[in-house]
């Protein structure tokens, strides 16, 4: 008998939802086939019924859950399909399993992904419509009183949507390492994007050179990410578990292996992981997911090797290693200075901070023009508003003014946020005026 090491309780809660009836289009990477081979691999390995793993069904997330984070133009209902609600519901089911103490950690292996979705939804960006992890985190704060949250985004693309949602929240540490934005969609995620004026150092972007392999990724994790997490002391760690750093991914140029991802998962010890991108559906996903599931379940992942793996051609080049060392050093210095930088950032700003930007929705082919305002308080987290316009979309010109009350808000912040929105309405430039108050389950039109 070899059953001595059989775990008696489930270590991992697994939500597996491949959405075999949902696609962006027939030939789009985000199509029915994406998790087919992963499903086959997980079934064949017998992982869904391993005693260390407990399977959960996704839920259908409510509109209320989604509206804690997003405002749609013209409406969320126009863009969000049932598949999106199930994907969000998968993450919520995973989070529930962990919070209820039924499992040690959970993995929501669902599609479609969400980390490119920003607060305003004018269409689909980078295959994403709503931000799955952000909605899950808002749910955790609302229902479980979770406060300090760290997100580690291990997708090869910069998680610009998650960055957007949490850019002004000092209690959410968003760390994304990704292939350098100069060489890959969405072209952002540089070191100088380190958080808004009231949340300096709560966004950490680590752009990595093309050709980064297991060695580089794990060094970044050990020398940079893990110490940052130790400093930040989160209540909960979320992994946006994109799998496109894989050497076989058709949309990116990295060299990470399935076992590399499994080791990363092992070191990170995230409480909840949520699948993001990864489009090498045959050569990577079945193995990466097997590796992550084994690792999170506390099982041996040393035998997870892709048939296509070749040790020689997958060696990280010396110059790549050097560049990574440089980035690590730079970030270590920036991280040490984050408190000074926070003080500097607020110097001379007064009560408000304004910003303007343009956001491109690649899937829908439209641009959003934004004017953003933050109300700064000396002693607390302020609201922020987005005056958001787009044209040439399928629903015509859109102009929405939305105010987001932070989850930490007190009554003063709430009152001020409503006042500012009423003021904007008086000016009357937008079609809709919306206030979002996530801890009160409110998204209302003024």
């Amino acid at each position: 008998m070899l059953n001595k090491n059989k775990p008696t309780e489930a270590n991992l809660g697994l939500v597996f939802f491949p959405a075999f009836d949902w696609k962006i289009s027939a030939t789009h990477p985000e199509r029915q086939e994406r998790l087919l081979y992963t499903r086959d691999q997980l079934l064949e390995e017998g992982l869904l019924e391993h005693p260390a793993i407990r399977e959960y069904n996704p839920l259908l997330a409510s509109w209320q859950d989604i509206k804690r984070v997003h405002v749609g133009a013209p409406s969320l209902e126009k863009w969000v399909t049932e598949a999106h609600r199930v994907s969000v519901g998968g993450a919520i089911a995973a989070a529930e399993a962990v919070m209820r103490g039924e499992v040690k950690r959970a993995f929501s292996l669902v599609r479609p992904p969400g980390h490119h979705a920003m607060t305003m939804v004018h269409g689909i960006r980078g295959f994403c419509t709503v931000n799955v992890e952000a909605i899950m985190i808002a749910y955790l704060r609302r229902h479980y009183g979770v406060q300090r949250v760290a997100i580690v985004d291990t997708d090869v693309h910069h998680g610009d949507g998650s960055q957007d949602v949490f850019y002004h929240d000092p209690d959410t540490l968003f760390i994304s390492f990704h292939q350098d934005g100069r060489t890959l969609y969405p072209g952002t995620g540089f070191m100088y994007e380190y958080g808004g004026p009231q949340a300096v150092g709560s966004t950490v972007n680590i752009p990595l050179p093309p050709g980064t392999g297991d060695e580089g990724m794990l060094t970044v994790l050990q020398e940079l990410v893990l110490p940052m997490l130790a400093d930040f002391k989160p209540d909960i760690i979320i992994n946006s578990a994109g799998q496109d750093n894989h050497f076989s991914d058709p949309l990116a140029n990295m060299m990470v292996t399935a076992k590399g991802y499994a080791k990363l998962t092992d070191l990170l010890q995230a409480d909840i992981a949520v699948l993001e991108g990864g489009y090498s559906v045959q050569e990577a996903l079945p193995y990466v997911n097997t590796g992550i599931v084994l690792s999170m379940a506390g099982l041996d992942y040393s035998q997870v090797v892709e048939p296509a793996f070749d040790e020689y051609s997958n060696r990280q080049r010396g110059d790549v290693s050097q560049r990574i060392e440089g980035i690590i050093k730079q970030w270590q210095q920036q991280w040490q200075r984050r408190h000074e930088m926070q003080v500097d950032a607020l110097l001379g700003l007064g009560d408000y901070w304004h910003d303007q930007r343009q956001i491109y929705y690649d899937e829908t082919g439209i641009s959003e023009y934004r004017q953003e305002t933050i109300r700064l308080y000396p002693d607390k987290v302020g609201w922020h508003s987005i005056d958001s316009r787009s044209d040439r979309g399928p629903f015509g010109s859109q102009h929405v003014f939305a105010t987001f009350i932070p989850w930490q808000a007190d009554e003063t912040v709430r009152r001020d946020a409503y006042e500012a929105t009423w003021q904007a309405k008086k000016e009357g430039k937008a079609q809709r005026y919306v206030v979002v108050d996530p801890m009160k389950d409110i998204q209302e039109e003024l």
């Binding site: 070899l2 059953n3 959405a19 030939t27 087919l36 691999q41 869904l48």
Partner: protein, 572 residues
């Protein structure tokens, strides 16, 4: 004329059915370890009703495989696995396997072949007479498994079981466990098959002999010698079929309870059909790929012992010490409690009362609430003892009912947690919610009404229930299941259960694969000489569009087809 034999854990039943009517039945004790004695006794009991020349079919439901495993009457075998990369399944297996190199990927592509050196070393590694082999993704491409079977036969093994031939479903650990247990019980089963044939011949019975499988279907005895593992766990299958044959199952979502002496078996029904177990049956504590009904057992039966544990707390089951005290036993039982409550009428009522009131005196001080204890202060008068005994009996029944309803909640929870792959299943979830309760077995009449009350469900207790298992065996239809997997990009067609793996360029659509699957089912049925089967029908179709090289559109189509389990006639 049909002859049904059911060799259960406690009783062996024989039944003769003619024109849909039970003309004779006989119940006797199951004899262990030699089951043949009980079978001969059961046959003797119905012999005078049998006209050997008129018997067209003999079907046997037997615990021989389960029994052999429990009694450890098994033959050690060599287990070979070809796991390739992935999870280490060795901790999940009953024996240390011999691991060989080679790998087939999820699309059925050969990623690494068997190593000639390892194959040459096979005769040296051989320790036993029989072997079992299992390769990961052999259901997508059985060639590695088949090559290894050939090599092992050449190396001198008497027989070799292969995982993908026993099940066409994805699940390498389950197929491995099926293959292993199949080899382990093969010689016991073959010995048993020979003994049964001889016994039947002594009664002049030469009709074809069928064996009931865990999925409720039957197959010819000769064929089953290659796959005896499929007869594990047939007791519940026979009981389930018996309920169908006796026309006791309504169309609504129904919970059926088979309430015996030691356990209550729970099955879930829909549209008059029982639900199948996810993945397959458990063999000992190992999950196998053997298709079976989703039957779960809880340790509550009419003879469940009622005791106080060392903390003075009341325990009902799961132990059975012996018969109820009303029937001369030494330990009070759930049955005694039901007699005390006036719900069951058998045996010596006074003995049931006596046994339970003894226990009640020990129980009252330890577990009753203080207010209840004070009611009995100042010594226990006879009436007080009586009311205390009644209170205990009620408590015993309540505990027993709770165990059953908890077991039922687990079974329903498991059913409602089945994997969902499409958005539609979440938006319009298929939730099992029972609307009807059906109970059979010796304890049904007295205990089931309490369960029905707790669940607030209407209850039906069909007549003829005591011989339901033998009836079920006698009228079981023949079944088989195959899986056809077509990869239009590769132009490869696989039917693992039939060992088919071939180029197939002509097929493109799911409907064509369905037609082909039905054709294979028909051919296989003819090959096995099955005459008593339903028409083949399609169980599941998965049809996923895929893209090769960014643009060329192909499909991966998987069709499962079967001869559906069921009964060939209804019985009165």
């Amino acid at each position: 004329m049909l002859l049904g034999l059911d060799v259960g854990g406690t009783f062996t039943d024989a039944i003769v059915i003619d024109n849909g009517h039970i003309v004779q039945s006989h119940k006797c004790r199951t004899t262990k370890p030699n089951l043949m004695d009980g079978i001969e006794a059961a046959l003797a009991g119905v012999a005078q009703a049998i006209e050997p020349s008129k018997v067209t079919r003999i079907t046997l439901s037997t615990t021989i495989v389960t029994n052999a495993l429990v009694m450890n009457q098994v033959e050690p075998v060599d287990l070979y696995i070809i796991p390739g990369p992935g999870m280490d399944i060795r901790p999940l297996l009953p024996v240390e396997p011999i691991v060989l190199s080679g790998y087939t990927d999820h699309r059925g592509s050969l990623a690494a072949p068997l190593k000639p050196k390892e194959l040459e070393a096979l005769s040296g590694a051989k320790r036993h007479k029989r072997a079992a082999v299992s390769a990961k993704f052999a259901v997508r491409n059985p060639s590695l498994e088949q090559n290894l079977v050939d090599s092992l036969q050449k190396a001198g093994y008497k027989s070799v079981s292969a995982g993908a031939q026993l099940s066409g479903a994805l699940n390498f650990p389950r197929r491995t466990i099926s293959a292993y247990f199949n080899s382990v019980v093969q010689s016991t089963f073959q010995g048993f098959a020979t003994a049964v044939q001889q016994a039947l011949h002594r009664y002049g019975l030469t009709a074809p002999v069928y064996i009931l499988k865990a999925d409720g279907g039957s197959l010819p005895l000769a064929h089953m010698q290659a796959c005896p593992v499929e007869t594990a766990f047939t007791g519940p299958a026979a009981s389930v079929l018996g309920m169908v044959a006796l026309q006791s199952m309504p169309k609504e979502m129904t919970v059926a309870l088979d309430m015996g002496g030691t356990t209550t078996d729970i099955s879930l029904w829909q549209g008059g059909k029982p639900l199948m177990a996810r993945g397959g049956a458990m063999i000992q504590q190992y999950p196998s790929a053997v298709r079976s009904f989703a039957v779960s057992s809880v340790g509550i039966g009419g003879e469940s012992a009622v005791t106080l544990n060392d903390k003075g707390q009341l325990q009902v089951g799961p132990e059975r010490v012996g018969p109820s005290m009303a029937l001369g036993g030494t330990v009070p039982t759930l049955g005694d409690a039901l007699i005390v409550l006036g719900k069951a009428q058998y045996g010596d009522v006074a003995k049931a009362w006596a046994g339970l009131s003894e226990l009640a005196k020990a129980w009252q001080g330890s577990e009753l609430r203080p207010s209840e204890v004070s009611r009995f202060e100042g010594g226990l008068s006879e009436t007080k003892v009586d009311s205390l005994t009644l209170a205990l009996a009620k408590q015993v029944v309540t505990r027993a009912v709770t165990v059953i309803t908890d077991g039922l909640a687990t079974a329903i929870g498991r059913e409602n947690k089945l994997p969902v792959y499409v958005v539609r299943d979440i938006v319009e979830p298929h939730i099992f919610k029972p609307q009807q309760l059906v109970a059979v077995g010796g304890t049904a009449a007295s205990l089931a009404p309490f369960v029905a009350e707790a669940l607030d469900l209407p209850l039906e207790i069909p007549a003829n229930a005591p011989v339901a298992n033998a009836v079920g065996a006698a009228v079981a239809k023949e079944t088989l299941m195959i899986t056809v997997h077509l990869d239009t990009a590769k132009g490869v067609l696989v039917v693992p259960e039939l060992g088919i793996h071939e180029k197939h360029k002509g097929l493109h659509a799911a409907s064509e694969v369905e037609a082909l699957a039905l054709q294979y089912v028909k051919q296989e049925a003819e090959r096995l000489g099955l005459s008593n089967a339903a028409e083949g029908h399609i169980v599941a179709v998965e049809d996923v569009p895929i893209i090769e090289g960014w643009q060329s559109m192909h499909r991966l189509i998987t069709v499962k087809a079967q001869l559906e389990p069921g009964v060939s006639l209804y019985v009165k």
